[in-house]
Symmetry: C2
Subunit: 226 residues, 2 copies
Amino acid sequence: METHPLYGELKITRKKSGYSRGKNGYEHILFATLNILIEEGYNSISFRNIAKACDMNVGNVNYYFSSKQELIRQLLEAIIGHYEDEFDKSLDQDGIAAEDRLRAYITIVLEDIKTKKTTRLFPELWVLANQDSFVADRVEALYRRARTYLNKIILDLNPDLPAKERETLALFLSASMEGMTTFAGYNKPWADHMELIINITTKSFLDLVKNITVNDISALSNSKKS
Amino acid sequence: METHPLYGELKITRKKSGYSRGKNGYEHILFATLNILIEEGYNSISFRNIAKACDMNVGNVNYYFSSKQELIRQLLEAIIGHYEDEFDKSLDQDGIAAEDRLRAYITIVLEDIKTKKTTRLFPELWVLANQDSFVADRVEALYRRARTYLNKIILDLNPDLPAKERETLALFLSASMEGMTTFAGYNKPWADHMELIINITTKSFLDLVKNITVNDISALSNSKKS
DNA sequence: TATTATTTTGGTCAATCGTACTATTTTAAT
DNA sequence: ATTAAAATAGTACGATTGACCAAAATAATA
């Protein structure tokens, strides 16, 4: 299973123990399903498709996952869990200046968006979240964790900003970067301009976070301009 | 057909003429399909689903649209065409200061993102674009048109910014707003904070567009900070 | 009214789907 | 070597899908 092209891209937490052969089969199915999801989209996922990709029988796939919903949920858990782990691993840099942490954050997220996996996967997650509250909750938890880092950075760079405004600003920064996915992601029209986009994002976010005040954005200020 | 809940949300350009009855059937199918797409997602679209929603026979749906691909493409054309028309209608304000045009642009886009239609539709479009180049091209054309307005505004507010940087900045602004869809769209966790998000966006974009220079973001400046 | 074009119906078809079930083979422990 | 558990293969069922087709119903026209 270490030979699978997508090996290392899932956080697999198998509950029941079994033979090593079974462990391989279980993981092989998850990797194959992930691959189909990336290459052909959610609609193309079927037990028979998966079985063919695993050189396995349909009944065997059903032996590991008693229902399609079960398979999809375990796959999404493995996908999102891996993103969370990678995120924590990339961003636990203590003792680094807040400004540099923000620079690193931007680069890590936007470089990741350029990968085929992230470009293809996240729009699928957004669609699934619109129809399945289980997915919606899990995706929301992922983004909430991602924002905790932004909130700390903003707190360091702009201590006077109240909590509500800080958290909404973190949401704005995170959502803003996510928006690049469909424009500058893998094989997208602006993929070649990602370096410039990263520079614009960095310049924009640094100025914004450091200088923004409550008066700039509070609800009262919807009539006057600075 | 004027009684359909989604009446006015599609730009329908029927090619063949026929009896008025046929025109109604044709449009009814498109509106019903749009409704299914919004409420249940692309996966739930089927000839039989549509027929039931139209109180029509399955074969009749197939009579109007000889294939599902044909139906989907005409629907997407009607959807995107309508967005383009609405966009042009909302933003042809001549004689208004560039800064106010940017404010209006932000408000219009982000308020539209709050609607159920846009919140549900665009993630579906992004996914479809990943698998169907016809959809990818059509969606890209829509966004390209949207950026023409941003490019004019940037040109007014920051005449010294070269074309490449200006166009990439327009892309950044547009993508940034699109990113709010899955966070602050209809029924999303941050929907109630959209007013604050609009204020943050306005503050951020105005400062950025007015003050950014080539030196801030050009490829050379990846080692030094201001 | 008779004729023609258009719309609608109802049914059929092969393909695919998720799932359940049994039988067989493989594996690990005794 | 025996045995029980685990894994695999194979098959079959009911449901749904896109699509096709002939007949019937409707509308416009001469």
